[in-house]
Every structure is written in C-alpha cells, then in structure tokens.
C-alpha cells in the first residue's frame, strides 16, 4: 500500500488538498453502476469483494481513488439519495461530502463538492480485513507507477505474494526502463522469485543466488516451503546454503535489534529516573511523588493537544517546555509547603511525599476522570525507519533515545559547570554552611526540587508517546526509577545513565530467551546480587568524604 499517501491523508488539512488535487484531475469512470451496486446496500463480504475486482480490472485512476477512499474509511453512502460519496470530517464533527463520479461534459470544479451533512445522513461502506488486503494488493498495481521510488519498491514487494503473469509483465517492463538502483534491486528480486517458483531446477538454483541477498521475509518463507517440499538433493542443498546465509544475516539483525530495544528501554528508564536522581539522589528526598510529576507532564501534553488539535505535529515542542514549567512549579510548591520542613529527616519525606502522591493521583482522577486520555503521536514520530526488509527501528523510540541523552547532557552540564549546580551541591551537602557562604538555601532548595520535578515532567511528555496517560502512570514507573538511581549509585548522574542503559539492555537480551516475566525477575535478582558486590551502587562514591 502506498504508505505516503495514506499517511498524508491522515492529517486533516493536508489530506484535503491532496484530495482536491486528485479529484480535479480524475477521468471518467468506466465501471457500470450495476457493478458498484453492492456498495449501496447491505451486501455480503463476497459481493463486496467482487466490487474490488471490478474496480481493479477497470484500472482507471478513478477506480484507484474509490478503492483508496474505501480503504481509508472515507467512502460513504448518502442514505437519502442512495448514492456513493467521499466524505471528509470537519472539525465541528460534520461531514463534507464529494461526488466521486462525474459524467462526461459536466464542468469540473466546485460542483464536485456536494455540501456538508450530519453524520447520521451517511453510512460508511463496510470493510473488513479480507477486503482491506484485497484492496491493498489491488492498489499496489497502481503504486508500481508512482513517481516516488520508495513507493514503487514497497509496491514491488507487496506484489510478491500474487505474482501473476500480468504483474510480471509490468515488472519486466519496469525493469527495462527503471533507473533507480534500489528499485532495480527490488525488481530483480521479484523476477528471481518468479524464476525460482516457476523455473527448472537449474534456473531455481540460479535464482537462489540472487535471492540469497534478500532480507524479505516472504522470500525466505518461499525458500523454506520449497525446501520442505523438494526432493531434488542439489536444490535442497542450495536452498539450505541460501537459508543459512539469510539466517546468519538475520542473526546480526536480531542482535542489532536487541541492542536497540535495550537502549530504548534504557532510555525510558533513564528519563523516568533522571529527575529522581536530582530530588532523591542529590537532595536526599525519598520522593514518592516523583511518578506523579511525570504524570503531570503527560497530562500537560494531553491538554496541549486538546487545546490545539490542529498542532499535533508541533504539540511536543510546546509540551516539553510547558511540562517542565508545570511539573517544576508543582515541585517548587511542594518543596515550599512541605519538604522544606523536613530537611534532615529524610525518612519522613517518604511519608509526606507518599501522601502527596495519593493526593495528586486522586486530583487527576477528579479533574480528568479516571480513564486514560488519548495523546496522539505526531506524524514525524510514527512508523519506523526501515533500514532493510528485516530491520527497522521505530521512530518514536529513536527520538526518545536521543531525547533522553540530551536531557541527561543538559542536566549534567547544569550540575557540573554552572553556579546553580555548585550551589545545589553545596546546599545539599551542608545546608547551614551553604547559607553561611551566602547561598540563599531556601531558593536553591526550591529550585532544585523544581528542577528535578520539571525534568520528571519532561519525561512524562516522552512517556505519553509510549504508554497510558492515566492516573496510574506515575505508579507504574516509581519502583523502577528508584531501582535505577540506587543501582547506579545515589548522587551520581553517570551512574544513573549507565544503570538505566545497562538494565535496559540486559533485560532485552534476557527477554527473548527467558520470557518477559522471568527476564524481569532475573534482572531484579541480578540487582540484588550486584549490590552485594558493590554495596553503594555501580558508581559508588568512595573515600572518607562519604563516610565522614
């Protein structure tokens, strides 16, 4: 399926323009209205499938559009007039409808839009997965002509499953004129696959040489199936070698993928614990409300998206600073009202912040309802970066890995090289003395707690892209966060980084082998045993400075 077109159609305004373009340039449709009739009535899936076939065979761009709209849930029947329309949702929950056909001689242009109607007036043309898959296959034949090479490539791969003579003809023609190397490669694969499926033994073996370099899972499955069915030892031998080579590559990809999964899990751990590394690690507040600060950040994202529904793509850039401010302000408030009275009594901060966390959770339940809220993923963060047919990395995770490192660096810089950082460290080590050195301890405390909370808020923005935005968000991360900070060595930012990434990777390498549950248990046992070896965490501060 044409990934790009589909994605573009998701954005409201963008899709509208594209839509107009398509509509305006569309030729007359040559399918009989009898063929389309099942669309208008309640008809069986088989009948509907026949419509797809008819439209595919007709082959015009107009049919393509009908199929595309059908696939994207934009093909409706207007109940009253019993006619087929394309419909587009407007922001006020009405539908603008368009005429998908136009008769010869009719003037093009505005007349295409048929007006705006209520949802009740329309009935969506039904679709299920069978149809979807049929339509997608059908659309692939159009995509072969697309101007964008990426689209062509995916169309070629999509056509592998149904390599009939017609498609093959198209592919051969394409191969003759194609200039893009990547497309040529894909075409060669398709042709080789055909050769492999249809040819003689020697041709099959010949085709194998080409196919060996492919990472396409379908090709691999064809090879495997043929191997199971063949009686020819030479072919079997050749396939076995080819499969071994493919699987060898697969293994590398799996390792690469696992590393990435690990880092990405690690970056989530890092984000969720780095704020705690400040409030707990540096300030010594056993901050049970840390998770709720993340929750505030996530809800900030939600609020931004609901206030500016048209800015989904930009929403995160607004949400990040805002979440920092919101959670940071909450942190400052908590510090001034409660924590301030508890310095020197670290254990009691546990009690108070636990109380605060209960209050915050319930407050969110009361204000936003106990349900999860929907936070949309911007287009640029959806989908994945396809490195090859077998290896692709999801964009959202990639961005989050980068983002977590960025946050880490900034924080490290602040703590190490700025006066504010120095003041924070001085105050947390000896409050009275810091004051005697002229450092306004109250302000530094409040700002430090605010900084830690603010970072938690920023982490919440990132988490909103991965998981539930609900009142329990914080609870789900708090235990892991403490685990990471302590494992890394309290008060050591590098420790937090290494602990987060390390635990992430270890977990992800254990998971395929032991299963998610046991992997998690093993990681916990590992932490317990590791602490025996290094009782002050991974990057323990040493020396009398600590003991003294």
């Amino acid at each position: 399926m044409n990934q790009n077109v589909r994605q573009a159609l998701h954005g409201l305004s963008a899709s509208f323009f594209l839509f107009l373009l398509l509509v305006l340039s569309r030729p007359v449709l040559a399918v009989s209205s009898e063929d389309l009739k099942p669309l208008l009535t309640k008809s069986s899936w088989t009948q509907l499938e026949r419509v797809v076939t008819a439209l595919t065979e007709e082959g015009s761009e107009s049919s393509q559009q009908i199929l595309e709209h059908w696939l994207n849930g934009k093909l409706f029947v207007e109940k009253k007039q019993k006619r087929l329309v394309f419909a587009e949702k407007t922001p006020d929950k009405q539908y603008r409808i368009f005429n998908p056909f136009f008769t010869e001689g009719e003037s093009k242009g505005e007349s295409l839009e048929l007006g705006t109607v209520k949802k009740r007036a329309l009935k969506k043309v039904r679709i299920n997965n069978q149809l979807r898959s049929a339509i997608k296959t059908a659309l692939a034949s159009w995509d072969l002509k697309a101007s964008d090479p990426e689209t062509r490539i995916s169309a070629i791969y999509a056509s592998l499953k149904t390599l009939d003579s017609k498609t093959l003809g198209t592919l051969r023609n394409m191969r003759a004129s194609e200039e893009d190397q990547a497309v040529i490669y894909a075409l060669d694969m398709a042709l080789a696959l055909d050769l492999f499926q249809q040819g003689s033994i020697s041709e099959q073996i010949e085709a194998l040489e080409v196919l060996t370099s492919s990472d396409n899972p379908f090709i691999r499955s064809v090879l495997a199936n043929t191997l199971a069915g063949t009686e020819n030892p030479a072919l079997a031998q050749a396939i076995t070698t080819a499969l071994a080579e493919i699987d060898q590559r697969q293994q590398y990809y799996t390792v690469a993928e696992n590393v990435f999964f690990g880092l990405s899990l690690g970056s989530v751990l890092l984000l969720s614990s780095i704020g705690l590394a400040i409030t707990f690690g540096v300030m010594g507040v056993i901050n049970m409300a840390h998770g709720e600060m993340m929750m505030l950040g996530a809800y900030t994202t939600f609020v931004i998206q609901s206030v500016f529904p048209e800015l989904i793509d930009q929403s995160l850039f607004i949400a990040i600073p805002l979440a920092f401010l919101v959670a940071g302000a909450a942190g400052v408030l908590i510090e001034r009202l409660v924590i301030r009275h508890l310095y020197g009594r670290p254990l009691e901060t546990l009690l108070a912040t636990f109380g605060i966390s209960l209050i915050l959770q319930q407050a969110v339940r009361t204000i936003f309802s106990p349900l999860n809220q929907e936070v949309a993923t911007p287009a640029w963060m959806s989908g994945s970066w396809v490195i090859n047919e077998a290896l692709s990395l999801t964009w959202n995770r990639l961005y989050i890995v980068g983002f977590s490192l960025l946050v880490f660096m900034v924080l490290l810089f602040v703590m190490r090289y700025t006066r504010f950082g120095l003041n924070i460290r001085a105050v947390t080590q000896n409050r009275a003395m810091a004051s005697s050195m002229g450092i306004p301890t109250g302000r530094v405390d409040a700002l430090t707690f605010g900084l830690g909370s603010g970072i938690a808020g920023v982490a919440g923005v990132a988490l909103s892209q991965l998981t539930n935005v609900g009142p329990n968000l914080g609870q789900n991360y708090i235990i892991d966060s403490f685990m990471v900070v302590v494992f890394g060595g309290v008060g050591n930012l590098w420790g937090t980084l290494v602990a987060a990434m390390g635990l992430g990777v270890v977990n992800k390498f254990l998971e395929p082998w032991a299963g998610a549950v046991v992997a998690k248990i093993l990681v916990l046992v590992f932490i317990i045993l590791f602490i025996q070896k290094r009782p002050r965490g991974l990057f323990a501060l040493k020396g009398r400075a600590v003991e003294g």
Binding site: S435, M437, P440, V546
Partner: protein, 231 residues
C-alpha cells in the same frame, strides 16, 4: 562595626546565652574564651545567623540584623569559619572555595592567589574532594573559603583544633596580618590560651552563658582568665 547587645539564646527550655553583649571593631581581634559548653559557639552562631536570639540586638554597621537569614548576613560581609570545619565533603577544594562566590558581584568572582600563598597545601590539593582531606587541611580550607568572600567580619571558632603547630603559627600570623590590614573585624573563639592572648585586642570570657570578664588584650589578667577556664 559589630555590636551584640544583650542577647538571650535558648535551646528549647535551656538558656545558652544570658544577656550577652560584645563588640568587634575593624582592624581589631576580639577573643572570646571560656570552658567547654559555656556558649561560645552559640554566640558565634547567633552572629552568623544560625540561631535566632530570643531578645537583644545584633547591630552590624548600625543595622539590626538579629532576624535576617544567614545568607544575607554573609552577603553583607560576615564570614564564618565554624567549629568542626564543615567542609562540603563532596566538593573539590576548588569548588569549596567557589561557594564563596555567592557573596560577590559577578565581576569580583575570582579566588585571590594570595589565598594559596597563605595555604599552599590547598593549591596542591585543589582537585581533591574536601571530605578526603585530613583534619588540619580541612581547617585551612575552611579559613580560605571564608576569605574568598572578602569579608568585613571574620568569625573563627576554635581554628586551632586539631592543627599542627607550624600551621597554628601560620594561622596566627594570617589572623595578625588580616587584622593589621585593617579591612576587617575579627571575632575569635579560642581555648588555646596563648594563642588567644597573643592575638587579642580585646577579650571576653564567658561563663555559663554570661560574660564573666572582659577587657583589652594587653590588660588581660591571666590568672583570672585561667580560673574561669578550669572546672
């Protein structure tokens, strides 16, 4: 410069200072003496802003600062070398010194090389963590750190405790030097009698939270003071 007028300090129900009055002048050393537990540290803490007197005034350059927080006193030129050093253990020596910058305007934020002349060992250990230094080294760091703030009043609480003799002498001469420059007033708490006597322009002996004896340095009656300092 500094006038402490009749302050009372309580710890809970017990009174640690009873109507104590002392003063410190620019270019002079005021020595505060007395046995263990008579309230010397408490008095210094009151001046530095760590405890709040229940009554009485603390006039600093004519203004009553009895209720202002310690960081604003520090910014107004009162520097404190507390008993027990109170180094920031995890900051490096350099960073410990830099904490003093909080008192200074941006343009003056540098460490006077003279400080390293006074305490060469600090130069050597500049990048070691304060907490790792030996006791005597920490004491030197504490004094140096106070000097970074370029104070007008320097409070030293038992600066010789745990210090090797040669450095005691150094400290003694540093204090003398600072006094002779005439830029700051110095309040010195000391149990080491000779040290206190040699430096004192004026002296105060506390007993059970009260001023028991006071006078100018050269008029100090050693026998009387020593009596007050034994049990």
């Amino acid at each position: 410069m500094l006038e402490v007028q009749g302050i009372d300090v309580f710890y809970g129900a017990s009174q640690a200072l009873k109507s104590v009055t002392i003063e410190a002048r620019k270019g002079k050393v005021t020595s505060v003496m007395g046995r263990n537990g008579v309230g010397k540290t408490t008095l210094m803490n009151a001046v530095a802003g760590r405890v709040t007197p229940a009554s009485g005034k603390i006039l600093w350059q004519g203004i009553d600062i009895a209720s202002s927080p310690s960081h604003s006193r520090a910014r107004n030129g009162i520097a404190y070398v507390p008993q027990g050093r109170q180094i920031f253990p995890l900051l490096t020596v350099q960073e410990n010194l830099e904490t003093g910058f909080a008192c200074l305007p941006r343009s003056k934020r540098r460490i006077d090389p003279e400080i390293f002349d006074l305490f060469p060992v600090l130069q050597q250990m500049r990048h070691r963590r304060g907490g790792d230094l030996s006791g005597g080294q920490q004491q030197q760091l504490a004094i140096a750190r106070a000097l970074v703030t370029q104070p007008e009043l320097l409070i030293l609480d038992e600066p010789t405790e745990g210090i090797q003799p040669s450095i005691i002498k150094d400290i003694q001469s540093v204090i003398g030097l600072l006094r002779d420059r005439g830029e700051m007033a110095i309040l010195l708490v000391e149990q080491f009698f000779e040290f206190a006597r040699d430096l004192a322009d004026t002296f105060v002996v506390l007993d059970r939270g009260e001023v028991a004896l006071e006078g100018t340095g050269n008029a100090m009656d050693e026998a009387a003071v020593r009596r007050l300092m034994t049990v």
